[in-house]
Symmetry: C2
Subunit: 250 residues, 2 copies
């Protein structure tokens, strides 16, 4: 997050020129028909310059993922140990959407290209897998020592990535015209409702005492009786968690 | 499921011989050092026979996924339209674990091989993605017309796959000695608790509707809200038990 609040460091112009040349050729000739030699000729640089920035032709299609993965890892490592873990990984996923949304035209062009080239789809799967592992590793650390800690971490990381990708695809299919932030907030909100413990604010009755989306929260009775209101389709573990809080057993 | 209730059709012996020869060489020489020519020489067949069964050397490492994907798709298509969708995709995921558990020695050997060869890990990611898409497509159909139908479908499919893979890895790391069914049931139970609507039995008040010792009993609201009343000093396990009954999850 911190990197986006200040101006990003300027990217090497040669790197940008290589990406621009590559995409111009991919669109004109097709991905498979374009060689690294074609790209460097158009960009006016040597082959060694290409491979200084990109290990392979596939990497020039996804020039920002390595940086984004590094940003995500740093963002997770810098988190307050008290912050709600599901919220934290949702915020980490927003970094990825922001990377796409910073350059809608390029992202939409790449989306179309990736759909046509099986090798690029395979590359993308491996990138998605790395994001998912970064989120899961963070959650495994946060849930260490809890029953089913690794299971919970793996499932939530996968759910966050799936929600993010659902929002991303929806935004790409709108040709980058829909509101990316709104779309991803909505998708991640679904995962937070299913797995998160919600806001950092203490659990309690919603204003006016009306049942909230998930819980009305515990209502205290004078004779030491607890009343809980829940939606029937609420996840059982969340109900138990809420009860533990209401009974003062956490 | 149906295919597992009857004896499976016999596999072509030549196909099995090719898989056996391939794995013997992969273990002895390493995956990269083994060619298709080496495999067919050891199996005593021609190259054309190899490619009749396997499009590439990678495919011989995962000889059963295509069949399992077809079984899964058929299983999902054959489902009662009234069945609970999350439960159905969990049952579909169990087909994959069963495929692994049918041949523990082979599965453990492949697990070790896959960890060492990046190309095989990439292949595995693409297979996992196809399973996830099959589950998501089924759920998208079931949730069609519901708000957030595709979001819900994608997130639940990813969660089911992650839970399955967590259980599978745990079983593989035990060298196939732990109870595969128990492990996957537990992992999928976590996803069902988070997303499923529980048992097929209609949820409702406990028989008789009389207040139990602990609870005033669930009170049904028209909008599917459950109200629970409990003494604060009640044992937590009894509270949970009562809730499970109220939510129709036992």
């Amino acid at each position: 997050m911190s990197s986006s609040s200040a101006a990003p460091p300027a990217k090497p112009p040669m790197r940008d020129a290589l990406v621009a040349a590559a995409f111009r050729l991919f669109v004109e000739r097709g991905y498979e028909q374009t060689t690294v030699d074609d790209i460097v000729a158009l960009a006016g640089v040597g082959r060694r310059s290409f491979f200084r920035y990109f290990p392979s032709k596939e990497d020039v299609v996804f020039p920002d993922h390595e940086g984004c993965l590094a940003d995500m890892t740093a963002f997770l490592a810098a988190g307050d140990p008290q912050c709600e873990p599901v919220r934290r990984v949702c915020d980490a996923a927003r970094l990825v959407l922001r990377m796409y949304a910073e350059n809608p035209a390029f992202s939409v062009q790449r989306y179309r290209l990736t759909k046509q080239v099986p090798g690029l789809r395979a590359y993308e799967l491996s990138v998605v897998w790395r994001y998912e592992r970064a989120l899961a590793e963070y959650l495994r650390g946060r849930y260490a020592g809890r029953p089913d800690g690794t299971l919970r971490a793996d499932v939530i990381a996968a759910a966050v990535v799936a929600a993010h990708n659902n929002a991303l695809r929806s935004w790409l299919r709108s040709d980058g015209r829909s509101d990316a932030d709104e779309t991803v907030d909505h998708a991640l909100g679904y995962v937070q409702d299913a797995f998160g413990t919600g806001s950092a604010a203490p659990a309690g009755p919603a204003p006016g005492g009306a049942p909230a989306a998930l819980f009305g929260g515990p209502v205290e009775h004078p004779d030491d009786v607890v009343v809980l209101v829940s939606r029937r389709d609420a996840p059982l573990w969340r109900v138990v968690q809420e009860i533990e809080t209401a009974f003062g057993r956490t």
